[in-house]
């Protein structure tokens, strides 16, 4: 992994600012949307290219997503492929943060997670509701 440049630090700073903005002032709309975990199973299907949410399935191309909410980012034991950004960021994953990232994949351009994004807020809510089921 290459060292983080000044430019990437700036980008990361902007990304964090964007995240903070969303967390501190989530739109009424985003909060009102209730996720359907059954629908989320199919929305999440694309994520299975790289992620297992099931307990004990381990890491794939991306880290295991078992019990993701409430966990510190970039700290899963045994996963060696975090971007420098994510390793250094050390924030705690919340549904709001995941929603922000899924809505805007360019937020973390250095991430090894190169995906198309989920522009539909209901899709994101469904996915998050599905993912939230996988925890102790």
């Amino acid at each position: 992994m290459r060292a983080m440049t000044a430019a990437t630090k700036t980008v990361w700073g902007l990304a964090l600012a964007a995240i903070a903005g969303l967390v501190l002032a989530p739109s009424a709309k985003a909060q009102d949307i209730k996720g359907d975990p059954a629908r989320g199973r199919q929305v999440f299907a694309a994520c299975r290219t790289c992620h297992y949410p099931e307990k004990g399935f381990g890491h794939h191309n991306g880290p295991s997503l078992y019990g993701i909410f409430g966990r510190k980012s970039g700290t899963q034991p045994g996963f060696r492929y975090y971007s420098e950004m994510l390793k250094r960021a050390q924030f705690v994953w919340t549904p709001e943060l995941l929603d922000a990232w899924l809505a805007n994949p360019d937020m973390l351009p250095e991430s090894t997670m190169v995906f198309v994004g989920l522009p539909d807020a209901q899709d994101r809510a469904d996915l998050i509701a599905y993912l939230a089921q996988f925890r102790d």
Binding site: A46, H60, V114
Partner: protein, 512 residues
């Protein structure tokens, strides 16, 4: 677009606009975006190279490596910050045979003839025969080349039907042992997978190829999006206009441009237009760059496309393999496939030929051990008669199918579809379940197999049947060896590498 070039709109672009008015502005909007630039519009070249490769997946990096090995200067541009493309998320399987050192080390017999017979049969009516001929002839050399680039294969075989989660490097990755292919060609395991855990062979493959590319002096620039090809007045492709950090840059390619930009599964408009059957499925499988950019750039300089409706549509019933003792039926209760085929064929049948509806019928013995993310239960009942009512199959039809199946399965036979004995068992122990295999509810991973028409040197073929000078394409930007139904893992990655290299070799021999 820079201001200066905006003042020099090509007549070609105006022409396209005129066509747009005639043929539908919306359809032309995408083509105009990718419309070629004339060299007279390029005031200066920001960079020059021999071989310009657009995309950094297996096809692009194979082209780049071969270009360096042929003594060319090579520049690869990748839209995203992280190189590797969809190949890096794949299983990394390469379909190789004919007695590779790995096959021999694990004591499997194979021949080029058997591999060829299988690929021709599995390719069906769309099989590109000449490409398959060349691919099979080059199979042993391709394995050696991969090893020489640093790809590591473990001396370990897996008998699982699916890519193993253990780091095994050889397995039966297609329908070789399945009827009718087991009667057409002597089966051999031909799925060659870089040693990696949890199906991350694609990452291991691309790490090795990218490291080799770096060692061999391939220039790789990430965060650079190709926008338009640049053509001479005679139609020769001599470079590309790319975007980097909001700036347009002009890259000159002395020997040729290789479109290695992937398929188009993540371009909803293109997918709906060409392959609505795939658009209806979930998930769309591939990294974010599968937007059809290269296909559109190729179309815009007169390239021809093939098989744009075709795709890989994997409906994975297994693992566990014992569920294949169940039967797959359509909405009228009829079986339409031997359930033990490669899972891409079941998906293909459901998606393209059964109206997107089907069920997996199991009894208590052939059921999944636990609820599974891939499939939901459509109905459960204590008798087949009650089950068929619950899923609205015409009365008696499923009962008849199950009776017929059970009668022969008890004797270890399947006269209708010839499923292997290992997966034959009467369905007789309640409860019976019908799993929903419909495109709305089942996990059916899809990506596109259609793309630009290319010849054996990976040259893009124009609408009039002649190669477009200076333009090459490889991988899923092309219609290559994998055709639908997709019957064997590794034919896509294998095709990427083989024809990526062919492109570079041809370019090295022919100056544009």
């Amino acid at each position: 677009m820079t201001r200066s070039s905006r003042q020099h709109r090509t007549t070609r672009r105006d022409f396209l606009r005129t066509l747009g008015g005639l043929g539908g502005a919306a359809a032309l909007a995408g083509a105009a975006d990718a419309a070629p630039l004339g060299t007279r519009e390029v005031r200066h070249w920001d960079d020059k190279t021999d071989l310009l490769v657009l995309g950094s997946g297996a096809a692009g990096i194979a082209a780049a490596l071969e270009g360096r090995q042929q003594g060319l200067d090579v520049l690869v541009v990748e839209k995203f910050r992280v190189p590797g493309g969809t190949s890096s998320l794949s299983g990394g399987v390469c379909y190789l045979g004919g007695g590779t050192p790995l096959q021999k080390a694990l004591r499997f017999e194979d021949s080029i003839e058997a591999m060829h017979a299988y690929l021709i049969a599995a390719g069906g009516v769309h099989a590109p025969r000449e490409k398959i001929d060349a691919y099979c002839e080059g199979s042993l050399e391709q394995f050696d080349w991969l090893v020489a680039q640093g790809v590591v294969y473990a001396r370990r075989y897996s008998d699982e039907k699916e890519l193993s989660h253990e780091p095994a490097s050889l397995y039966y990755c297609g329908s070789e042992r399945v009827h009718p292919f087991n009667e057409i060609a002597r089966p051999a395991p031909r799925g060659h997978v870089p040693a990696a855990e949890n199906q991350t062979g694609g990452r291991a493959l691309m790490e090795a190829l990218l490291a080799s590319a770096s060692r061999q002096g391939v220039r790789l620039r990430t965060g650079v999006s190709a926008r338009r090809l640049i053509v001479e007045s005679d139609g020769r492709v001599v470079g590309a206009a790319v975007e980097e950090g909001g700036q347009v840059r002009y890259l000159r390619a002395r020997r040729g441009v290789v479109l290695a930009t992937g398929g188009f599964v993540h371009n909803p408009g293109m997918l709906q237009l060409h392959a609505p059957e795939l658009a209806a499925c979930r998930p769309h499988w591939g990294r974010a760059g599968d937007l059809g950019d290269g296909i559109r750039m190729g179309l815009a300089v007169g390239g021809n496309v093939l098989r744009m409706n075709q795709g890989f549509a994997v409906l994975p019933l297994y693992p566990p393999e014992h569920v294949l003792k169940g039967i797959v039926v359509n909405a009228t209760g009829q079986r339409f496939v031997n359930e033990d085929v490669y899972y891409g064929e079941i998906g293909h049948e459901v998606v393209y030929h059964q109206g997107g509806r089907a069920f997996l019928i199991v009894d208590a013995d052939s059921d999944y051990p636990a609820p599974d993310y891939r499939l939901v239960v459509a109905a459960q009942a204590d008798t087949i008669a009650a089950l068929e009512r619950a899923i609205a199959i015409p009365e008696g039809a499923l009962q008849q199918t199950v009776d017929y199946y059970n009668r022969h399965a008890a004797e270890g036979r399947d006269p209708l579809w010839h499923k292997d004995r290992a997966f034959l068992a009467p369905l007789q122990r309640a409860p019976f379940k019908a799993y929903d295999l419909s495109v709305e509810n089942a996990f059916i991973a899809v990506h596109t197999l259609g793309g630009l028409q290319t010849d054996l040197d990976a040259r893009v073929i124009g609408a009039w049947g002649e190669p477009i000078p200076g333009l090459y394409a490889a991988g899923r930007a092309t219609a290559g060896i994998p055709t639908a139904p997709y019957r064997s893992s590794g034919t896509s990655i294998g095709d990427c590498i083989f024809f990526g290299r062919r492109a570079a070799r041809h370019a090295a021999r022919h100056a544009t």
